[in-house]
Amino acid sequence: MIRADAKVLLEVKGLRARVSGVEILKGIDLKVAAGEVHAIMGRNGSGKSTFAKALAGHPAYEVSGGTARFEGRDVFDMAPEERARAGLFLGFQYPVEIPGVSNSAFLRLAYNTVQAARGREELDPLEFDDYAREKMKLLDMDPAFLDRSVNEGFSGGEKKRNEILQMALLEPRVAILDETDSGLDIDALRVVAHGVNRLATPGNAVVLVTHYQRMLGYIVPDYVHVMEGGRIVKTGGKALAEELEARGYDWVRAAA
């Protein structure tokens, strides 16, 4: 929801980033205000995921220029964990498996770490279990996933649900969801999208990074940005996504 008086949560200006010395992002500008849903679309290799990872602070992505401010703070001056505690969340395209760590222990540790950083109450294992089960209902997740190792042996859809579960628990101000729709069948997509919609509030914002329009049928974006060659080449409303679906990305390139 676009509101003229909404607080700006994330403001990126002229962001450039390199991976293994190769410049992928060549000057990105993006302003995200509270209550908004943004979609960043683009073909594979356009730099969408690099943008998401650079904002989250992945060590392999070197920021070579530009600025990013998150609620007034310099993002690139913060360690990845500080960004997470401050409320910047990345939903991974490929969530990492961590054999040997139970999902419940991991989720509780993350939850309590973030709660403590925000000066809020931590939960003991029993309290957390109840809290997590409540959130899992939102995503139609089997509580048995709490007892399994983090993402180990999860199907693609289960991993993505687990990412959104983390979003639900950590209550970020800005959630960047990197290709959350990939690997989901149509039922899982509906459940995950529904969960994201429930988590979106006037106080936070969601940035969806996606290749396809299909998720945007469920989560209606306020802005659609098209990336091409490491830049945002076009910005529009939700109709732009439909147009992209109908006409393909070449059309934007030709028009840009």
């Binding site: 964990e81 997470a84 991974f92 990492v96 054999p99 040997g100 760590v101 540790l109 973030v114």
Partner: protein, 437 residues
Amino acid sequence: MSAVGAKHPYIESLLRGYEMPRSGISWLNERRAQALERANALTVPTTRDEEWRFTDITPLTRVQFQPAAGAPRPAMADLSRFIVPEAAARLVFVDGAFAPALSVTAGLPQGVVVSPLAAALDAHAWEIEPHLARHAEYEREVFIALNTAHLRDGAFVRIARNRSHPAPVQIIHVSTRKEAAAYPRCLVIAEAGAECTLIEDYAGLGDAVYFNDAVTEIVAGEGACVRHVRLQRESGGAFHIATCAASLARNARYVSHTITLGARLSRFNLNVVQQGEGAEIEMDGLALISGRQLADTHSLMDHARPSGRCQQAHRCIVGGAAHAVFNGKIVVRPGAQLTDSAQQSRNLLLSDRARVDTKPQLEIFADDVKCAHGATVGQLDPEQVFYLRSRGLSTERARSLLTYAFAAELIDRIPVPSLVERLEETVLAQTQGNERA
């Protein structure tokens, strides 16, 4: 009998004052005499021996060990942290000597014997004779020879044919005395179709420098199943050299979990011989060491018969200036077709002074077999570290959690819940300690 004539002054010192244990059992006297002869004839291994290339036992030979005797007895309270509540029977040895007051052997079902070896020798001689000192080769290995020459007592566990004894049997060797040498011994016989779980625990009270030279023999009859948890948590100054020899009959199953945490210098040889077709083996090994510890594991999986299956996972977590050694030998004898043996060695180095030497050794003399091995040595996976940091965990916390997980994966497979819990606490405390160090 005196030990004059020992080749090496060190062996001589270990045999000083040696008196052949007296017993009326001639076959045992004979085996001890042969073992003594071998102890005198065999040399102390040096790093020039291929089997001891990375493990320099010179520090061990510098200490004058005395045979343990008359040691103060620890109270039950000192042992409580080692005791596994699930265990139905427990044998406790203090500095090598059986401690009846600390042990529990009553109320076992029919067909299950858990007893000190010396007390069992009369009633069970016919069962013991074919196996005692018949699987661990004192002819070839000086430390087995020393142990066997000193053999007077030990632990004896026997599960009768087709009996299942699901509650674990715990054997605790506690060491309390400075500069004492002890020779723990254990014989486990699971007859055909029998099932049991054995917990072998080597623990130190305090921080004394002592030497344990241990030998365990495990015999699994046709279709028998032996689960074997081995905990080495000796004191930080201790020396621990041990061999476990397991002999498996047709379709037997042997599942071992070896956890190495303690000792200044430790060497464990796990020799498994598949004597019958279709035996199934799982071997998990975990070494978690730091400081200046050295932990060496040598395993031998000998597929002497066809259709054996073995899954081996060995992991080392090495911090400080510690040094882990793993040598995993797999032998597939001629005719042992359809063997399926896989070995994986994974190692984490937590500091730049930590060291690991890992070596697979495959000797395959049959053509229709599947043998796989893999070894990795490295630091933590940066993608995993980033994932955890992206959820708010500090780098240190992420690293200690991942280190913990690396160990917990193997610990989780131990079939004794209270041990899993306690070991995971130990590992968590140690991994967090390592991160700070």
